[in-house]
Amino acid sequence: MDVFQILLNGIVLGALYACIAIGFSLVWGVLNVINMLHGSFIILGGYLTYFAWHYTGIYPIILLPFVALALFALGYVLQHLFINKVVTAPVLTTLTLTFGLDMILYNLMTVFFTATPRRVTLDLGTLSFGDVYLPIDRLLGMALALVLTALLYLVMRGSRIGRAIVAVRMDRQAAALMGIRVNQVYSITFGIGALMAGAAGAIFAMVFPVTTNLTGVFLGKAFVVCVIGGLGSVPGALVGGLALGLIESVAGYTIGPQNAITVGFLLMLFLLVVRPTGLIGVKGYE
C-alpha cells in the first residue's frame, strides 16, 4: 500500500534526521551556540567511516564508535581552544566564529577528500511486506539512530555529566558554585555534539553517498529539526526529526518533490513564530 510505504519512508528518514539534529540541538540549547560546523562534522564522520571501511574492510558498524570518538576529540579541542573564549558573546559572534572554523574544515576536506561522492557499498538488501519495502541499511541506520538517541537521553538524565550539562544550561554561574567546571562541561557538550555528528556521519555513509557538497544540506536539516522539535532537548530532536521526515515524505508524494523542502522550511518558520520553544520545550533533565 502506498500510504504505508510513504509513512514508513517518512519514519525511517525522520529517525536519520533526528540523528543529524541531536548534537546540533544540544550544543545550541546548552552553549547557546549555533554550530555552523555541524554539517562538516557529519560529512567528516562519513568520510572517516568510508575510508576506514575502504582500506580495512572493517564493517562500518564496528567503526562507528571509533569515528564518533575521533569527532568527540575534535569537538572537545575546538571548543576548548576557540569557542570557549567567546561563548558568552552575542549570537553573531559565536555564529561567525563557527562559520569561520567551518570554512577551514571544509577547505581541508575538499583538498584531502575531494568532492567526489563516496558510499559504503554494503547493499544489505531490503525487506518486503507485500508491497511495502524496508531497506535493511536504513532500518539499521534507524535502529542505530534510536539507540544513540536513547543513550544520550539516559546520559542526560542519569549521569553526573548529564546533570552538569543541564545545570550549566540553566545558569552557568550557579553551576560553577555547585562545583561544576563550566568550561570543561562546555567542551564536553560540544564534544558530544560532534560525537553525535560523527555517529550520524557513519550511519549516513552506509545509506547515502557522502560528499562535501552536502554539508550545507545537513546543516539546514539540523536547523529545521531543532526548531520544529525544540532546542536542547533530546526527545525534541527525535520528534522534530520524525515530523520533518514525515512531512517531506508526504509532501514529496502528494505535491511533488520540488516543493517538499519548501514545506519543511515553511513549517519551521511558522513554528518559530507561533511557538519558538518547538513542539517539545526543554524541561529539566532531558
Binding site: 567567546v86 549570537v91 561567525t96 572554523l101 567551518d102 560553577a176 519548501t262 515553511l266 519551521m268 518559530l272
Partner: protein
C-alpha cells in the same frame, strides 16, 4: 571627520576607471556593492543588534524583481526602482512577522527566509525560469562604458546608504534603535514603539540590498537562484560589517573594502586554500578585533594575546552580571 573620509574615499573609487583597467573597475564595483550591502545590514544588525542573515534574500529578490521587470520591457532604471520598492515592501511585511523573534531564533528565522525565498523562486519556474535562471538584457555600450556606469551607480547606492546611516544615527530613530539593541524591554518601557522602529530598521536594511541586487542583475546579465540567494553572501556581509565595526558609521565601508581586497589577494595567491584562509581571517577577527577595525584598542589587543588563563571564572561572573 569620518564623513569627510567617506566622501574622499568615494571620489577615489569613482576615479578608478580613469586610471586603471576594467579589472580594477570590477573590483571597485565589488567594493562599492559590498559596502552598500554592509551599510544596509548595519541598520538591523549594527544599530538594532538583531543578528539578521536575510541579506541574500533581499539581494536575490532584488535581482529577480529587477530582471523580470526588465524582461517585461521596462527600462533598467525603472526596473531598479521597482525592485527597491518591492523588496522594501516585502521586508515590511516579513518584518512584522519575524521581528517578534529574538536572538538565536531571529537568526534562524532570517536564514530560513533566504532558503524559503530561494526555494520558491526556483520552483516557480513558469515565471522565474526556475533552475534555468534568467537572462537579463545586456546594457548597451562598450565594456568600459558599462563598467564605469555600473560603478557610478553602485557608488551612488553606497553613498545613499551612507547618508541614510548618518541621518538615522542623528535622529530619534537611531537613538531608539540603539536602545532596542541594549535592552528591548526597557526601550519599550521608556516609550519606544519597538515594533515600528524595528520594522523601519529592517526595511532600511532591505531596501538598499534590493536596489544593489537589481543593479547587479543588469550588470552580470544572467542570474540563477543558487547565486542570487547565496548563503555565503548572507554570512559574508555581516562579517564585513563586524570587521569594520558594527554599529559605527563608516565601519561597514571599511570592513567591506578590506574584506574584498583581502579576498582578492588570497584568492589570487593561494588558489587551493583561499577558503581556509578566509576562515582563519574570520577566526582572527573574532578573537582580536571584536569591536572591528575602527574600534581597535591596542592595549587590549596585547592583553588578549596573553590572557584567557582564567576563562573559567571570567565567563561565569560576567554572565552573572548580565542577569543583574
Amino acid at each position: 571627520m569620518s564623513i569627510a573620509a567617506v566622501v574622499a574615499y568615494t571620489i577615489a573609487l569613482a576615479l578608478i576607471p580613469q586610471f586603471a583597467g576594467n579589472y580594477e573597475t570590477r573590483i571597485a564595483i565589488s567594493v562599492a556593492m559590498f559596502s552598500a550591502l554592509a551599510l544596509s545590514w548595519n541598520f538591523i544588525g549594527g544599530f538594532t543588534g538583531y543578528p539578521s542573515f536575510s541579506t541574500a534574500a533581499f539581494f536575490g529578490l532584488g535581482c529577480y524583481i529587477g530582471a523580470l521587470s526588465q524582461r517585461a520591457g521596462l527600462p533598467a532604471e525603472a526596473a531598479w526602482m521597482i525592485a527597491t520598492v518591492g523588496v522594501a515592501a516585502f521586508a515590511a511585511a516579513l518584518g512584522a512577522i519575524i521581528l517578534r523573534l529574538k536572538g538565536h531564533y531571529f537568526a534562524i528565522g532570517s536564514i530560513a527566509i533566504v532558503e524559503v525565498t530561494r526555494l520558491i523562486i526556483s520552483s516557480w519556474g513558469s515565471v522565474t525560469g526556475g533552475g534555468d535562471g534568467l537572462n537579463v538584457p545586456l546594457m548597451t555600450g562598450t565594456p568600459d562604458v558599462v563598467a564605469a556606469r555600473i560603478l557610478y551607480i553602485m557608488l551612488a547606492v553606497m553613498g545613499g546608504a551612507f547618508v541614510a546611516t548618518v541621518i538615522v544615527d542623528r535622529s530619534r530613530l537611531g537613538f531608539g534603535l540603539r536602545c532596542i539593541h541594549q535592552n528591548e524591554d526597557a526601550a519599550d518601557m521608556v516609550g519606544v514603539d519597538t515594533t515600528r522602529f524595528k520594522i523601519a530598521a529592517f526595511v532600511l536594511s532591505a531596501l538598499f540590498c534590493g536596489l544593489v541586487g537589481a543593479v547587479y542583475a543588469s550588470w552580470v546579465g544572467y542570474i540563477d537562484p543558487t547565486d542570487s540567494f547565496s548563503i555565503l553572501l548572507t554570512v559574508k556581509v555581516p562579517v564585513m560589517a563586524l570587521l569594520g565595526g558594527a554599529g559605527t558609521l563608516a565601519g561597514p565601508i571599511v570592513g567591506a573594502g578590506v574584506f574584498v581586497l583581502l579576498e582578492e589577494f588570497f584568492w589570487a595567491n593561494f588558489l587551493q586554500w583561499n577558503r581556509a584562509i578566509l576562515g582563519i581571517i574570520i577566526v582572527f577577527l573574532i578573537f582580536f578585533l571584536p569591536g572591528g577595525l575602527l574600534k581597535i584598542r591596542y592595549k587590549n589587543l596585547l592583553k588578549k594575546l596573553s590572557a584567557n588563563r582564567s576563562a573559567d571564572r571570567s565567563n561565569t561572573v560576567s554572565e552573572g552580571e548580565a542577569k543583574g
